[in-house]
Symmetry: C2
Subunit: 671 residues, 2 copies
């Protein structure tokens, strides 16, 4: 690579881009870890994008109408941190750059959205960023339709690498974006031909341009080090009505002795290599030193954005008060006040008309209420609309022809759906929920974990939540999934027992702002277990006494969801035998764990035998069964020990021994 020629041809551009490159070299060297190659390769694209196109205001990183910049190739975090520092984001002073990858710094190894406002989404697990970006672009289209282009009109820019494009989730994202004609989504593909194992050709021969075109994208291929070509390609991308992919031929670790090699992907920390590279760049400044003229040019980009922000603010202030309040409430993630009233009324009515109903169906009944009062909800399903019951009666379908639609047919793409929902939530102004079969959380895990890590209140509507789904068999029957989800930090796992609990779970999920919720819902009908109307949301306590012992209390049965009615029936058997049994409904273990100790002890006093019932593996119940510190009471479990089978649901419950009689027998044996 003739670096001198690059420098000479565009000297001003070169120095701006070199600032990214040298900050990267210096930060990685200081941390003695990180990834140098990608920022060095993509610095030219980033420079042109921020210089000429990106709409952003460093003084207001959360301005609603900013362009979103998604670094899908998250290991290249120093590119983002460099740009944020250079353009003047107060949250990224030079000190943060110097503390790259250290305890307590905001400049984590990969960009973490919870540490920096300007990090739109947490990336690192490859493919997530590009899949999030589809959600961002969908949100922009929806909100533009809702508030008008004077208020919402921005681009979503993505940098993705070979790794992102090899991950399957990228295909789900690309296909969805192409179908939805998300014209304001632009992906820069860092086409450097190198992965960790060596050349891309070791594992891939895909013609990426052709692949994107196959899903309806506008595609260009350019020299990623030529600022004029980059600028022209961005202009063309903006002009085209399709989502755009710009394949940028770049040299990883440009200008260093590790250029175009797998070594260049990682941490370049050798002093001589760094010195030689800086010399090749014509960069005569000390470590972390940015000359004033270069810094000023970067800051001017931010100043341009600040003016755009001011103009936007004027337009926003001209909106009706109602619109402004609605906009700000939705962006703050606050549910409308009417929600709780409506849910309460629904609960009352549900009790009055109590009848056996599948909790997935109860969920639909709740959504029919919710979607009427919360105009910011965005529903969807991974091609199981009629099974997940996710589309309420009034929801129109979002499509290129109807940007006002609030329901998304995500296709058979659980992972892409979850990642897109993260993007919609991160964008702000909307509240996404989406459904699939609970067993297929396996497909969506990669993005569901990120909902939790990023504190995004995405709602996962996971129906067919046990062997109770019957004939579809073990591939479709979750067994370990409840324990898996409960093991995941910062996630609410709700498994409501009837219509009232389903409504209460939804209310919590929709008023929570700092974590995702999973609703585990039954395919089969569930008998109502709540018999008395309470204004209070009992699910908020996580677990509560559903039936008190009639006789002297000798046992406590705990259960969730479809097994609560089994526990109630077991209680009836035992009480008839003179054995006093309390039944505790446990719709949400995480919320129960968050109650104070006094409440927890009141619900689960030490002493009486405890038996839990759930049509899943035991693991997540052990704590409630055995007590935090042990030495409390005898305990047993009725549930699954292995995978399920294909047969009608009642047969399966019988054959796997999840019955009221089996529970009663377990209690008798322990007494």
């Amino acid at each position: 690579m003739d670096i001198a020629a690059l420098r000479d041809k565009h000297p001003e551009h070169w120095r701006k881009a070199a600032a990214i490159r040298t900050l990267t070299l210096d930060a990685v060297a200081a941390a003695n870890s990180g990834h140098s190659g990608m920022p060095m390769g993509m610095a030219d694209v980033a420079t042109v994008l921020f210089d000429k196109h990106m709409k952003f205001d460093p003084k207001a990183p959360t301005w609603a109408d900013r362009d979103r910049f998604i670094l899908s190739v998250g290991h290249g975090s120093m590119l983002l941190y460099s740009v944020l520092h250079l353009t003047g984001y107060e949250e990224v002073p030079l000190e943060e750059i110097k503390n790259f990858r250290q305890w307590g710094s905001k400049t984590a190894g990969h960009p973490e959205s919870e540490y920096l406002d300007a990090v739109e989404t947490t990336t690192g697990p490859l493919g997530q960023g590009i899949a999030n970006s589809v959600g961002f672009a969908i949100a922009e289209e929806m909100l533009r339709a809702k508030y008008g282009p004077k208020i919402v009109d921005h681009y979503t820019w993505v940098m993705a690498g070979d790794g992102c494009l090899m991950e399957g989730v990228s295909q789900e994202a690309i296909a969805l974006a192409g179908m939805q004609k998300l014209s304001k989504l632009v992906v820069f593909f860092d086409d450097n031909g190198i992965t960790i194992d060596g050349k891309v050709s070791l594992a891939d021969v895909t013609d990426q341009a052709k692949r994107f075109e196959a899903s309806g994208w506008h595609v260009q291929s350019i020299d990623g080090h030529d600022p004029d070509a980059i600028d022209a390609a961005i202009e063309a991308a903006k002009a085209d009505p399709r989502p755009s992919m710009i394949a940028c031929k770049t040299h990883i670790a440009l200008g260093s002795s590790a250029q175009d090699t797998a070594k260049g992907h990682g941490a370049l920390t050798d002093g001589q290599l760094i010195a030689d590279t800086k010399a090749a760049y014509g960069w005569e400044h000390g470590p972390f030193e940015i000359p004033q003229d270069v810094k000023a040019q970067w800051e001017a980009m931010g100043a341009r954005g600040a003016r755009a922000h001011e103009e936007w603010r004027e337009r926003f202030d001209a909106l009706s008060e109602r619109k402004r309040i609605e906009f700000e409430r939705a962006f703050a993630g606050e549910a409308p006040k009417a929600l709780s009233t409506k849910i309460r009324a629904f609960k009352k009515e549900a009790l009055e008309n109590a009848k056996p109903v599948a909790s997935r169906k109860s969920s639909e009944m709740v959504l029919n209420v919710v979607n009427g009062v919360m105009t910011e909800t965005v529903g969807g399903s991974a091609d199981l609309t009629g099974s997940n019951n996710t589309r309420s009666g009034d929801m129109e379908v979002f499509s290129p022809d109807n940007r006002s639609g609030r329901y998304i047919h995500y296709g058979i793409r659980e992972h892409g759906m979850a990642a897109a929902m993260n993007g919609i939530a991160l964008h702000g102004g909307l509240r996404p929920y989406g459904g699939t079969f609970m067993a297929f959380t396996d497909y969506a895990r990669g993005a569901m974990r990120l909902s939790a890590l990023m504190h995004q209140p995405v709602v996962y509507v996971m129906t067919h939540d046990s062997i109770g789904l019957g004939e579809d068999g073990p591939t479709h029957q979750p067994v370990e999934h409840l324990s898996m989800l409960r093991a995941t930090p910062n996630t609410y796992v709700f498994r409501p027992a009837d219509t009232v609990e389903t409504a209460e779970a939804w209310e919590i999920a929709l008023t929570t702002t700092d974590r995702p919720s999973v609703l585990a819902l039954s395919r089969q009908n569930l008998a109502p277990v709540r018999s008395e109307h309470k204004t209070k949301n009992l699910v908020e306590q996580g677990a509560y006494v559903l039936r008190e012992a009639g006789e002297k209390r000798r046992a406590i049965l705990m259960a969730s969801g479809s097994e609560v009615e089994i526990a109630v029936a077991a209680r009836d058997i035992l009480e008839a035998e003179g054995i006093g049994v309390r039944v505790v409904s446990v719709p949400c273990m995480e919320l129960f764990a968050a109650q104070d100790e006094a409440y927890r002890k009141r619900v689960l006093p030490a002493g009486p035998v405890r038996v839990a019932v759930e049509a899943g593996v035991r693991q997540s119940w052990d704590r409630l069964l055995l007590g935090e510190r042990g030495r409390e009471q005898k305990a047993g479990f009725v549930g699954m020990e292995g995978f399920g089978a294909s047969a009608p649901a009642p047969t399966l419950y019988e054959k796997f021994g999840i019955t009221a009689e089996a529970v009663a027998e377990k209690v008798r044996a322990l007494l």
Copy 2:
């Protein structure tokens, strides 16, 4: 659709295909559940394939050189069951067809490989079959190179639907197959334009032909109801040196009133609809009735295969005895006798040269031994070869130019890798292992669960198994994953503490035949904890006493992997204070649970305080901490309660409080 014209044009073919269609209608009606549409749509393709091309012997479903038929679109299981019954597989008598989807029947809702020999792989979760098929085709290439084309020379045929192709894992599979030029892989795409939610166009506009071509596939588009076109396309696919995709335009639920609709995807059980459809087919036979001439024609297909099998057997018998024995041993999944001897010698040597080493590196040292004696191992990594340490010194890379290579660069495709490994294992004759970072089990879960469900001894080499990986931060730091994996039935989760335990874990993983193993390995160096050479494999017991209490035993510390040395150090602190502490190493909870009660009580006697240490969440430890039935002893846990952070590993252990002193303090507090 003019059914009469189809019937008239190819009357003999029509009746054979109609047998699949009517058996499907009858079985679904009897079960009152299932999926009628796909078998009715793809019956023509299946008929031509089995009639003219498929190499199979119904009397020997596990014949090593049979063609593999993969029904990726698993909900169309009645297509497969029909063909198996019609061609004369003894394991699928008519009774099984009549018991479709019932308890105890082999004809589960989706094809389950553990129920029927002729089911090559369990499908149902969409995309898995097509991704498995890449593994099958890789195995065929490898074994052909190893044993010659007289012994191994067969096709892998796949039926995939829109759902399979929308799932991201299919992209990973398609790209890998294209790069590897797997010429004996042929995918029939059931291009019927319908999904559960409605028309495919609701969620996808992808030009699938172009997409496959972009990854180097040979592509054809045909009328999927024209037997001549199907036959010609298969011939062309066989002749082409690339993997082939044949897009078959079909009508879902052909000939019924639900044809070409989403309703047709599901269970068609209406009596009138069935009668009308059969009338349109010109099928005048009763339910489950197959006229003798049609049955005879199907059975003749099987007879053709039986002759091919006989000829193959002659060629096989002509092999050298050594080759025959090796072939049969490998297909039986038996490890060579030399393995244990070599592992034992390795353990001895490791103790003699004991030094701190990362367990991922220990794993590589073991593989250097293993891959020398076990020629059936197939290694690989999802683009982290140098980090997972999965490529032993002597391993060549498998590629179109070197089919003798035993190492696969899977690319950045964790899900595709896991699914391909399932295919390799299912094919037989080879033993796959593959690596990625442990946090990315999230990406591979869909296929990992199927390894467990299918009892396939795939080995997952999951390195960077905790916050101990340091600076890459929370996205890369597994926290909940050990509990998640331990919650999964039929899976061994090994977390070895040092080089000796790593060798023992590998030995078990490589001699196990009925389940997958996960090796959770550290990035950071681990101090050796085993001090005395034992011939016996101690990891086989799952947990064992590593250090006995010196003083009177008042506490038991349990730990796995990188935290065992912390437990040992905590013991030293406490013993110095006069508190007797036993340390139990727990490399595999599943194996410990499988020991008899006497052993378990010996290792973990009730009474002494128990504290577990693991740099992950507590959930999976509760049982060991608290006892199966409760009321045993006081207990505590030192580990993670939430996600990790980005910083050097020693800092993270300190900041998250996973230290010997913290463990000692927990014990003191409980005493």
